[in-house]
Symmetry: C2
Subunit: 291 residues, 2 copies
């Protein structure tokens, strides 16, 4: 995978299709790809993508469940490479609007839904490739969105934070086979919270609340949010991300900082992340996977 370090423009494969969930990241990627000389066509997902930002690019709105329409539009737009980016909450089955192309695939989609997220996403990747498309990771077309190794901002990890970080990575590794969350909060080798369906922001809010209620054993200023991709995760589809909200959550939870695996976690709005970390006096650290 040398592609991870050099942007993949390859305009001979037609415009790059960007399936856009929520947040600002899809537009960061789109601008980068256009700047590199390759046209883009956005496929914003109804209910998630930002309509005002989408209007600046060639685009076709799609709804979750409209796989038939999506494949048709990909072909008519001459797109063969597809990047999926931005958050999409895992939808309840009854909220899907199934079109005919999807109905044909329904038995397989149902079996994907019965497993965890990994199962669902890698199933989508397989379907795309069977239809002759190529799925790329957002970091393959814009490697600079990934957390680098080392420190972002003014504050660095202390030995106590390094111990908590190592402990947190062990917990995440142990949970890997179960396709659970991607984040854990550890303070003085005591696990305060583990993320599952609620997401990182809500997990951080919970720890902030437990602290207000005096229900945590650790003092304020101790503890690390540790975040990593799941071992089984397809990096083209679902890399974890941090952004200014994450840092605000770390500050509100009274932690010392946050540590993520270097080069496999996306940093959304890095300038705002650094500013929030410096103001909140917390560290942001990219740790090599085997550290």
């Amino acid at each position: 995978m040398t592609r991870a370090s050099t942007p993949c423009v390859e305009s001979d494969r037609g415009p790059l299709a960007l399936v856009c969930g929520g947040g600002s990241l899809p537009f960061v990627i789109a601008d980068r790809v256009v700047r590199d000389g390759r046209p883009v066509v956005l496929f914003p997902i109804r209910g998630f993508a930002d309509a005002v930002a989408v209007a600046r690019y060639p685009h076709h709105w799609i709804a979750l469940g409209q796989l038939g329409r999506f494949f048709r539009l990909l072909r008519s737009s001459d797109c063969r490479d597809v990047v999926m980016i931005g958050y999409v909450l895992r939808p309840p089955v009854r909220a899907l609007r199934l079109d005919f192309g999807t109905l044909r695939l329904l038995p397989r989609l149902i079996s994907m839904f019965r497993g965890g997220d990994d199962h669902l996403l890698s199933g989508v990747a397989r379907l795309l490739e069977e239809q002759g498309f190529r799925l790329l990771g957002a970091h393959e077309v814009a490697p600079e969105i990934l957390m680098p190794e080392g420190v972002m901002g003014r504050f660095a990890m202390q030995p106590r934070d390094q111990a908590d970080t190592a402990y947190g990575f062990s917990v995440l590794t142990a949970m890997g086979p179960f396709d659970i969350g991607q984040a854990v909060i550890v303070a003085d080798r005591h696990v305060l919270a583990i993320e599952a369906a609620e997401g990182t922001d809500q997990m951080l809010a919970r720890v902030a609340q437990l602290r207000q209620q005096n229900r945590l054993p650790s003092q304020p200023g101790v503890g690390v949010l540790v975040k990593a991709p799941k071992p089984s995760q397809d990096h083209r589809l679902d890399l974890p991300s941090i952004g200014p909200n994450t840092v605000a959550g770390v500050v509100a939870a009274g932690l010392a900082g946050l540590a993520v695996t270097a080069r496999s976690v996306i940093v959304v709005e890095p300038e705002a992340v650094i500013a929030a970390a410096n103001q909140g006096r917390v560290f942001i650290s990219g740790v090599r996977a085997n550290d």
Copy 2:
């Protein structure tokens, strides 16, 4: 440990000391021991034990951190056997009121606090035994408080629930080495929540909220709360428990029921638990540890 199946009255060892945290369970145990012919002395913990109920028994109030006073009162009351029961939130160190006997032990207490709950509790057990006392589990003096094997109430596990239960136990086993929570919620082999510092009730409330927000992949009526002691847990000190609140939480979270390891989880107010389960149409199941 044949003691687990026959109550331990042994009145030749003096009155039984019952260190009482919050909830009704300490008084259920006290009544059972008195009925068996052994006197009790209660040591209710300030801020946790129910003062009205405590007044019905011989008692001495203690504060967290007053180990010196506690050991002195145990001796003057002629107690050699000690049972600790009822919930005590893990206190922030600054909330402790340390007496002289505690200060002498401070270096060891601090090192206990730096580990997880198990570490703290087993340290307390060691201290008691060094002082010549014997720590017993509540279930050793009142075995009927434990969840039996099989079903409580009118509803039974379906095959889907059995698969979710087995998956949940695997997750708990994988987390065992980290001294984390004792409970997990699984629906269609998808982990919805893992308990850490927040406790079971709050974890259930979170899943109820995620369901209201349409953020869960599973339908209402699917999913199991799975609860077990941590593998490293000293059963004399800290068995997990379920009660009517737990069942109300399972119903509110839209789950099919709850499964616990048989004979190692305490059922508080079993009649109310059964009534709540029948009314809420959820199952309560005690599963053999190796199932």
